[in-house]
Assembly symmetry: C2
Homo-oligomer: 390 residues x 2
Amino acid sequence: MLAGDSCIVLTVKDPYLLGSFETIQKRATLSKDGLSQLIMKAKEGNQRPPRDVAELAEGERPTLKTIAFMAGLGVTTVSRALKDAPEIGQATKNRVQLIAKQIGYRPNRAGVRLRTGKTNVISLVLNAQSSIMGLTSNMVYGISEILSQTPYHLTVTPYSLENDPMQPIRYIVETGSADGIIMSRTEPDDARVRYLTEHGIPFATHGRTEMGIEHPFHDFDNEAFAYLSVKSLLAKGRRKIAMLAGPTPAVTYHRHLDRGFSRAIEEGAASAVAFSGIDVDTSLGRIRDRMEEIMSGSNRPDGIVCCSGGAAIALVAGIEAAGLKIGEDVDLVSKQSTDVLQWFRPQIIVFNEDVRHAGRELARAVLRRIAGVDARELQSLSYPDEHELR
Amino acid sequence: MLAGDSCIVLTVKDPYLLGSFETIQKRATLSKDGLSQLIMKAKEGNQRPPRDVAELAEGERPTLKTIAFMAGLGVTTVSRALKDAPEIGQATKNRVQLIAKQIGYRPNRAGVRLRTGKTNVISLVLNAQSSIMGLTSNMVYGISEILSQTPYHLTVTPYSLENDPMQPIRYIVETGSADGIIMSRTEPDDARVRYLTEHGIPFATHGRTEMGIEHPFHDFDNEAFAYLSVKSLLAKGRRKIAMLAGPTPAVTYHRHLDRGFSRAIEEGAASAVAFSGIDVDTSLGRIRDRMEEIMSGSNRPDGIVCCSGGAAIALVAGIEAAGLKIGEDVDLVSKQSTDVLQWFRPQIIVFNEDVRHAGRELARAVLRRIAGVDARELQSLSYPDEHELR
DNA sequence: TCCCAAATCTGAAACGTTACAGGTACGCTA
DNA sequence: TAGCGTACCTGTAACGTTTCAGATTTGGGA
């Protein structure tokens, strides 16, 4: 046994953790005069700084070798002890794990990655446009919440809408720069989903596809949202109802909205008014102006469904510019992903979409997919939850 | 010279790029019957799959070895040729670079990282709360815009306000998981700045410090913003002015706001009304309610400066709840980082803070800092740019 | 007493890259 | 023709990890 102070830079609180003096000495093939001396000697012995000695230069981090030296074991044993391999004795495992903890060992990601190909990275791929109201932020925070309890890091790769959405995906796959991918703006027939499935890369999508491929996803039930929205408008006696639709029909949730909307309209024998020329991707200025036009016209709706909090603000501006009052001349139901809407027009009926929760779900899904869980078990929906305020 | 089709999986468009048959043969020590045969033989020759042969299994990526084999050169030469080292002949460089391009070679990040310690990662560290209006998103997009033209990846590490802001920083430094850091919520005396400077880790902050350490930063000139805001209110004849201040005085920009505000108030001989109990970190609900109280009281301001677009919406709600009208009873100036504000209350005077631009500046700054540029050359301010709409 | 199996532990090799310390070939000078 | 410098290229080792194929020890049975 060696005294606790015999380590120079790295110290363990419990010196009995260290390898027996004889073992260490055998490894270092040095004379018998305490670990401190031993280390110094070892250092003088070699020409280059002895990295296999438990003294680390400024800024150097302990490695398996460091632990191996301290414990008087081989690196292999240490490696396995740290991951609880069955062929290592319990006593050794405890000893090794304690030393590792006490000297603050952390596996070198580059070493692991080079050897195993595992990157410990989850990549969030999203388009850089449509995210006025903190959608991206909350997604990032949700994902991070989950990843922070794991060895995974989160990298974010935005792409602009003018570019091919496949490009960042292909890059990740070709360079092997992530173990899993989370992506949004899912399309009914999504080339990325096909590509990733073919290549066997774990991923989860925010939104569903309709291509007969089972894959992990999380989605907000936009059909239910649209249905319930129309229902609330009907309940308020509204009869001529319009919807600011999801982005280009290419994106799946546009269809879900349509479906829910049409069903409710039909059930209520109400009439649908079309909003031509604008959708949720349109610039807020244009939405406002078009809205003013529409609401000043003869065939204006008396109830409106909007699927984005940001767009809703522009809608309100347009409605009010036309001289109408929300809650009197027209009612507005909107989805929101941050709690801004109700603070400025309490009459708006809001459904909250918890994007942070979506982030958590998606992160959990990719991780479990990476762990080999069947895709079908990693599909979840979250339901609109009405908060009519005041 | 070899025929173009002599490569099995990897092909180059210009077969003359390949090494001479003799060279390749020498390396492979095989008989003379074309590259295709040669590769097959090489494959049969060894027990394990011959990774040093220009045929790659499904999902395998070309490495330096692959190129070396194809070009009939050593890996070292290839490595250097690819980075334009002076000791490599121009002809060789061209040849190697062309092959690399044609077979789609990309350096293995884990290999580089393990060998050189360079991660090619920039880490964005931010707090997960205060970002209602797309602040985080735009920052991320701005940074990505710059990084996408470089080999750098962006990782995002949020931390919650309850936690120690040092923790993620320490993690990054201890595990060496990034080459540079971008962080926000800078404090006058910032422990992170001190720590990173001491450890010599490149970083850039969104916001300034006041601790005598020169470091890269980008900041919005909040002093000018507050000053100009008050000035515009004065110009509208407002005399009793209040400001919804920046988060806790711990954060530097709070001071800048104060300074600009006080100076303008003094110059205009106006009077400042204090907003007690709320700042920009307060929940929107609470801001709204408090605002209603204040604006219903006897000592209410007739001009208000607000430093966040999200908070401004809550302010407006409070003001209107008190039965007052923006632009008549009271004027409001606000900073905004997304163009939402003016669409719903055109009377609000807005100053745009271009966070995306800040992201670009910060990314450029860290990159140049990593490249060794002096910190003093990497400090920039952006100035408020008034847009009074309609 | 000897041998065998189980329980532990081990060194060497490999992942892809770069740095180090040469090596070879060529042309020029003496 | 020898000697030498230059231009160009090369093999080996190392970064930290895991995997492979043993090696060593221990205890028990014959």
